[in-house]
C-alpha cells in the first residue's frame, strides 16, 4: 500500500468540522450517502442562510483515510459558496487537492454525491416550508 499524501494525513489527524448540527437547527441540509456493506458512509450537513450561501458545514464519515479526508476537505471547500456553486463541485477538485491515487478516486466521488444529497435535502425542506402558512410548526 503506497503512502498517503501529507494532506490526507493532515485531514485524517486533524479533521475539520467534525460533528452534527442540533436537530432543531433551521436551514440545514443533510446528505447521507454510501452503505456500511460497501465500507463507506458519509454524512454531510450544510447550514445555508436565507441568501442561499453556505455558512457552515459539518461531517461524519465511516470509511478509509481518503474518505475521511475527502469529506473533511469538502466542509472547508463549501463555506462561503452559494448553493449552486457547491452543487457544481466536481470530485476531480478533491482528487487534485488530496493527490488521491486511482484506487481512492471513488472516495472523492462519494464526497461529491454527499454535497448534492445535502443540497437536495435543503431544497426539499425549503419547499416544504414554503407550502406551510406562516406560524405553523413546520413538519420535521
Amino acid at each position: 500500500m503506497a503512502e498517503y499524501s501529507p494532506k490526507v494525513i493532515d485531514h485524517y489527524s486533524n479533521p475539520r468540522n467534525v460533528g452534527s448540527f442540533a436537530k432543531d437547527e433551521d436551514n440545514v441540509g443533510t446528505g447521507i450517502v454510501g452503505a456500511p456493506e460497501c465500507g463507506d458512509v458519509m454524512k454531510l450537513q450544510l447550514k445555508i442562510n436565507d441568501d442561499g450561501i453556505v455558512e457552515d458545514a459539518k461531517f461524519k464519515t465511516f470509511g478509509c483515510g481518503s474518505a475521511i479526508a475527502s469529506s473533511s476537505y469538502v466542509t472547508e471547500l463549501v463555506k462561503g459558496k452559494s448553493v449552486d456553486e457547491v452543487a457544481a463541485i466536481k470530485n476531480s477538485l478533491i482528487v487534485e487537492e488530496l493527490s488521491l491515487p486511482p484506487v481512492k478516486i471513488h472516495c472523492s466521488v462519494l464526497a461529491e454525491d454527499a454535497i448534492k444529497a445535502a443540497v437536495k435535502d435543503w431544497k426539499d425542506r425549503q419547499a416544504a416550508k414554503g407550502e406551510k402558512p406562516q406560524g405553523d410548526p413546520a413538519a420535521a
Binding site: I9, E37, K60, F62, A67
Partner: protein, 416 residues
C-alpha cells in the same frame, strides 16, 4: 514503558527470523556451499547430510518419515504440487476435488486453474459462522470421481482450526486422498499425520521464524503410497517429484526452525495464548461492540481477529501504522477491509462467514508471535482503544446507532 519504535503484530503474514535459525544457516552460504546433488565430493556430501537432517527435523514435527518430505519454494508451491500433482496422476480414477471456501488462495486459485483447464471439477464447501467445515459435509460431497480432499489445518485470517482428524476418518473410509495446508498450524499445533489420517501436508519456513523461500510437501509413502505428477521438470530431484537444485541454506533454516518449534511448542503456545487473551481483554474492557471473528476455542494460539463496529479498518490502520502520529511507535497489523486490498475486495474469508460485508470492513487481525511482549500488548491495546474511540466520534454510524436507529433497516437497498 519499553516498546520498540516498530511493533510487529502481523505474524500470520510472516515472522521475523529467529537468531538461532540464522546462525544455523550462515555456514551454508559460504563454507558449506555445495550442491546436494554433487555425489562425488565432500562439498556435495555435506550438503546432502544437511538436507537429510532437515528432512528428519521437519518429519519429526508431524510424525512422518524423513524420506517422505520434499523441499520446494514455499507453501504455495507445495499446495500447487499436491493438488495439481494428484489430479494429474490419478486422472483415470476421477477428477473431482473437494475443498472449502475459506482456504488460502494458494489452494483456491490452484483449484480454479484446474477448473479453467477442464482438468477437474471442484466443490467448495461453505463454512459455518465460525469458519468450520464438518466431516459430514465432506462425506456428503464425495462422489465416485473424487480424487482429493484439501482442507487446511488452520485459517490464516480468523485462526479457526478445522476438524482434520474427523475429516481424515471419512477420507480413509471412502478411499480418497486427503491433503492439508498446514502453513499456519505446523510447529504451532500438535500434528501427527497418522492420527489425523492425512496423505499430503504442506508447510513453509517463514511462518515459524525461518527463512522465506523454502517450504515442504510431506507425501505419504505407505498406507497408501501417494503418487504425484511433478510440476517442475528437470533432473528428477526429490524422488522425481520436484526438480531443481535444493536451496540448502533455506532448507537448513526450515529444518532448524521446525526443530525449535517442536521443542518449544507447548510453552510457546501457552505464552502466546496468554498474550492474545490479554490483548482481547484489555480491548473489550474499554470498548463496546467488539466482535471476535472465527472460533473462540478451536483457534490458533496467536490469532485475534476483531471487528470494531462503526469504524472502518483502513482508517484504523492509518492511525496505528505510523502514517499519522509519526512520533509514536508504529504498529503492524492487518485488516479484512476492502480499502486495504489492492482489488478493493473485502476479505473473502470473512465474507464466507455469512454475516455481511460490514464485518470485513471493520476488522483488524492481530497476529501474536514468539517475539511479542506483554509491554507491547499493553501498549497496542491502549492505542487501539484510543483510535477506535476517536474514529467512532467521526462515524455517522456510531451516532445513528446511539440514537437507536436500526442501521440494517436504514441502509436496506442502499446503492453505493
Amino acid at each position: 514503558m519499553s516498546v520498540p519504535k516498530r511493533i510487529y503484530m502481523d505474524n500470520h503474514a510472516t515472522t521475523p527470523m529467529d537468531p538461532r535459525v540464522l546462525e544455523a544457516m550462515l555456514p551454508y552460504f559460504r563454507d558449506h556451499f555445495g550442491n546436494a546433488a554433487s555425489r562425488n565430493h565432500s562439498f556435495g556430501w555435506e550438503a546432502e547430510n544437511a538436507v537429510d537432517r532437515a528432512r528428519e527435523q521437519v518429519a519429526d514435527v508431524i510424525g512422518g518419515k524423513a524420506k517422505e518430505v520434499i523441499f520446494l519454494s514455499g507453501a504455495t508451491e507445495s499446495d500447487n504440487l499436491a493438488i495439481k500433482g494428484v489430479v494429474e496422476f490419478y486422472k483415470d480414477k476421477g477428477n473431482h476435488v473437494i475443498t472449502a471456501a475459506t482456504e488460502h488462495k494458494a489452494v483456491l486459485d490452484t483449484c480454479k486453474a484446474l477448473e479453467r483447464k477442464k482438468l477437474a471439477t471442484v466443490t467448495y464447501l461453505p463454512v459455518d459462522q465460525q469458519g468450520r467445515v464438518s466431516a459430514e459435509q465432506v462425506r456428503e460431497a464425495i462422489t465416485d470421481k473424487t480424487v482429493l480432499i484439501s482442507i487446511m489445518v488452520a485459517n490464516n485470517e480468523i485462526g479457526t482450526i478445522q476438524p482434520i482428524a474427523e475429516i481424515g476418518k471419512v477420507a480413509k473410509e471412502k478411499g480418497v486422498l486427503f491433503h492439508t495446508d498446514a502453513t499456519q498450524g505446523f510447529g504451532k499445533l500438535p500434528l501427527d499425520v497418522n492420527d489425523l489420517g492425512v496423505d499430503l501436508l504442506s508447510g513453509t519456513g517463514h511462518k515459524i521464524y525461518g527463512p522465506k523461500g523454502c517450504g515442504f510437501l510431506w507425501v505419504r509413502s505407505k498406507g497408501p503410497r501417494v503418487r504425484l505428477t511433478a510440476q517442475m521438470d528437470g533432473g528428477g530431484h526429490e524422488r522425481g517429484m520436484r526438480s531443481g537444485t535444493l536451496n540448502i541454506p533455506g532448507i537448513v533454516g526450515l529444518g532448524h526452525a521446525a526443530q525449535i518449534a517442536r521443542a518449544e511448542m507447548a510453552a510457546e503456545s501457552a505464552r502466546t495464548i496468554a498474550l492474545r487473551d490479554r490483548l482481547h481483554r484489555l480491548i473489550t474492557e474499554e470498548l463496546d461492540e467488539v466482535y471476535l471473528n472465527g472460533h473462540p476455542e478451536h483457534r490458533l494460539p496467536g490469532n485475534l481477529n476483531l471487528s470494531f463496529a462503526y469504524i472502518e479498518g483502513e482508517s484504523m490502520l492509518m492511525g496505528l501504522n505510523g502514517s499519522a502520529h509519526g512520533d509514536l511507535p508504529a504498529i503492524a497489523v492487518s485488516s479484512g477491509s476492502a480499502c486495504t486490498s489492492a482489488t478493493l475486495e473485502p476479505s473473502y474469508v470473512l465474507k464466507a462467514l455469512g454475516v455481511g460485508d460490514e464485518l470485513a470492513h471493520t476488522s483488524i487481525r492481530f497476529g501474536l508471535g514468539r517475539f511479542n511482549t506483554e509491554e507491547e500488548v499493553d501498549y497496542v491495546a491502549e492505542r487501539v482503544v484510543s483510535e477506535v474511540k476517536r474514529l467512532r466520534e467521526l462515524s455517522p454510524l456510531y451516532e445513528m446507532a446511539k440514537e437507536g436507529i436500526d442501521l440494517k433497516q436504514y441502509f436496506a437497498g442502499a446503492q453505493h
